[in-house]
């Protein structure tokens, strides 16, 4: 069903376990031993951050809303579970994914505009031939088996924020955590509502209204602390003993009770929370330079920019 996650192709075909994902990627590399050896790449999580920055740059130039950006990010992530990255021009894949996502999310842009913006952003790596972008779109759709409807956590967040009477700051923080999760494998590992619940949990334990709104990507240390606190509260919810120390925790208590009564997979929330923490830790060590250089190197060397 188009609007029902449980019956969607997303749940049936595009949710993996970590092991399944690792296997898929290993297979892709094994099919291209020479390429892998010739063109070493930084760790996948750093590559994902680099991709995300490039998507954001393109999205900003086009004035694309976050929902369409998120869909494009999902397309790219799905695509690279099927195709070895060194066989592609990532800049072209990024532009094709944004082009397609904008059509799917009902905010289309002309192919020529995409090509013009691609040329501006990545002049040395982007062909002015629109048929290259068209071809890449074709390939993208094919690799996704035409399954292009994406269920995102934003909708769960919107419907849940009133239940927990989230403040504007808390909502904004939860929203930005969801934005950030597209830089990780989380959207391939967890159902969108699990991600939304995790983001809400983190946003209320971080209490941006008292500590000042911090960028979710700000301090990994802070995030980690908050997240561990969150994990404790979730396991309390699991064992059924609430136990708030102060009135300030009222929201957390409410959340615990709600979670305990819901059918939500608490294990998955715990797991997802850990993923978020480790992402913010990884992000602290991120360095754009090696990603950019190594990607650009294989694109140029293999003539993928032509």
């Amino acid at each position: 069903m188009a609007a029902n996650y449980w019956e969607s192709t997303q749940r049936r075909n595009w949710q993996y376990t970590r092991e399944q994902l690792a296997d898929l990627r290993k297979k892709l590399e094994e099919e291209e031993p020479k390429l892998v050896q010739m063109y070493p790449l930084p760790q996948l999580r750093h590559m994902s951050i680099y991709f995300n920055q490039q998507i954001a740059r393109l999205g900003k130039r086009l004035g694309v809303r976050q929902q369409a950006i998120a869909t494009a990010q999902m397309y790219i992530r799905r695509f690279y579970t099927k195709v070895e990255v060194r066989r592609t021009n990532p800049y072209l894949v990024i532009a094709a994914a944004v082009y397609l996502a904008c059509k799917m999310e009902e905010c289309p842009h002309h192919i020529r505009l995409l090509v013009a913006e691609g040329r501006t952003l990545w002049p040395d790596f982007f062909s002015s031939d629109t048929s290259k972008l068209g071809e890449c779109e074709f390939f993208l759709i094919s690799k996704m088996s035409s399954q292009m409807i994406i269920h995102q956590p934003y909708r769960s967040l919107t419907s849940l924020q009133s239940i927990f009477s989230l403040t504007q700051e808390e909502s904004a923080l939860a929203w930005s955590i969801i934005n950030d999760h597209y830089m990780t494998d989380m959207p391939l590992l967890f159902a969108p509502h699990i991600v939304a619940v995790t983001a809400i949990l983190l946003s209320i334990v971080l209490r941006p209204n008292t500590t000042g709104l911090q960028s979710a990507s700000g301090s990994a240390g802070n995030m980690a602390n908050a997240a561990h606190q969150a994990l404790r509260s979730v396991s309390q919810a699991k064992s059924g003993n609430g136990g708030a120390q102060s009135a300030a925790d009222a929201k957390v208590v409410r959340f615990q009770e709600w979670l305990a009564e819901s059918d939500i997979d608490i294990e998955a929330v715990v797991d997802c929370t850990q993923e978020v923490i480790s992402f913010y830790e990884v992000q602290e060590q991120y360095n754009e330079k090696p990603c950019k250089e190594q990607i650009n190197r294989f694109v140029k060397a293999r003539g993928l920019d032509k």
Binding site: Y16, E106, E135, C136, E137
Partner: protein
């Protein structure tokens, strides 16, 4: 725990993808797994062919080939149209007995082929058959069954947050076993998370004769109710064998401004009476509201008169449909309600007494029907799905009774 991931049949793990200067091409041509029997119809999107499987796959198929853009003689990748993207995405998710079933999508040779189950009939053809050689009504039991199945499919779409936006007799398929299948989701879209107002995407939706009054009056926030208006029009057409509001489409002017469809609105008010604020409280907020004063209509609705005149005339004599009775009128007027907020929803229409009074509704609309409907015309002009590009061939089945063009350019 996880269902096995089934690769689509056209997927070939050895293809080399977008290596430099090599087009995307699978080794096994998916389309070669089908035997094309002939050509069915063409439209703005491309062409539809009838086919059978080369191998053991039973059944017949309708293959919709999207038109590739050409630059000179060379077919180019020019980006996939938004309507193809929508139809591919939605058909991949949807699954319901009253929605046309997608078998697979094949992408190769720069073309997109959507392979659907084949349906022998469609409502346009069935309605047309009942005007030949003289007008004779569609049996009451068939009308009931068609309406129920149509509403059932529509209810499924709406519960999945999908608006069809182009319901009309030509898009409603009927299988040889009498099962109704809603087809052509090229204009359909999700309405659960519109990024832009629904208006900004495609300025004009729904073939004009089936277009709801709020759309004609320039509404920017339209809803599933537009599909129910169209179903009301289809219901009327099943009864009378003619479009109930057969207006003439005003063309876009040179500035591409969308004109007010005066003639179409006039046809509606002639039967439904002038809409009033009492009947439709938000009427005055409609952008084209002022235009209504330029139309002429008698006060009050004459739909009841139209209905009884139609069902009692027995059009052509034998086999009358007066058995549809008062509930038929109530359902019709509930669907053709001016105010979209008061118009019946698909859910409400399904539990309407119309379907629970009289004989039981069959899920085979041909049950007990003596008539034999002609098979879909399949022409042999163009069997070449691979290159096929005969210019301007129209739908081969029916004479074109000046039905308005399907849709304006998006």
């Amino acid at each position: 725990m996880y269902p096995t991931r089934r690769n689509p049949p056209f997927y070939n793990p050895t293809d080399r993808g977008i290596a430099p200067n090599v087009g995307y091409q699978s080794k096994v041509r998916g389309i070669d797994r089908y035997n094309v029997i002939g050509f069915i119809s063409s439209g703005t999107y491309g062409r539809v062919y009838k086919a059978v499987s080369q191998y053991s796959e039973p059944g017949e198929f309708a293959i919709k080939k999207f038109k590739p853009d050409k630059e000179g003689e060379q077919i180019q990748y020019t980006g996939i149209s938004q309507s193809a993207v929508r139809e591919m995405a939605l058909c991949s998710e949807l699954s319901h007995p009253n929605i046309i079933r997608l078998q697979e999508i094949i992408l190769e040779d720069k073309c997109i082929f959507m392979v659907f189950e084949y349906a022998e009939h469609d409502l346009l053809q069935i309605i047309h058959h009942h005007t030949q050689p003289t007008r004779h009504p569609i049996p009451a039991s068939a009308i009931k069954s068609i309406m129920f199945q149509l509403l059932n499919g529509c209810q499924y779409l709406h519960s999945s947050w999908v608006l069809h936006r182009d319901l009309k007799p030509a898009n409603i398929m009927v299988t040889s076993s009498g099962s109704v299948r809603i087809g052509d989701l090229g204009l359909a879209r999700l309405f659960n998370k519109p990024l832009l107002s629904m208006f900004s995407g495609d300025k004009v939706v729904v073939t004009i004769w089936y277009r709801a009054p709020e759309l004609l009056l320039g509404s920017r926030h339209y809803t599933p109710a537009i599909d129910l208006w169209a179903i009301g029009c289809i219901f009327a057409e099943l009864l009378s064998l003619r479009p109930i509001f057969k207006g003439e489409e005003a063309k876009m002017d040179s500035k591409k401004a969308v004109p007010f469809q005066r003639n179409q609105m006039q046809k509606i008010v002639e039967i439904m009476g002038m809409p009033t604020r009492e009947r439709w409280p938000l009427l005055s907020t409609m952008p084209e509201n002022a235009q209504l004063s330029t139309l002429s209509a008698k006060p009050g609705s004459s739909l009841e008169k139209w209905y009884y005149g139609t069902v009692n005339s027995g059009i052509g004599g034998q086999g009358g449909i007066s058995s549809l009775g008062a509930e038929g009128y109530k359902l019709l007027s509930g669907l053709l309600e001016y105010d979209p907020e008061k118009r019946l929803t698909a859910q409400q229409a399904l539990v309407h007494p119309f379907f629970s009074t009289g004989e039981k509704v069959s899920n085979n609309c041909f049950e007990g029907v003596k008539l034999e409907y002609p098979h879909r015309r399949v022409s042999q002009d163009d069997n070449d799905i691979r290159t096929g590009s005969l210019p301007g061939t129209k739908r081969s089945g029916l004479p074109d009774d000046s039905r308005p063009s399907k849709r304006m350019k998006e």
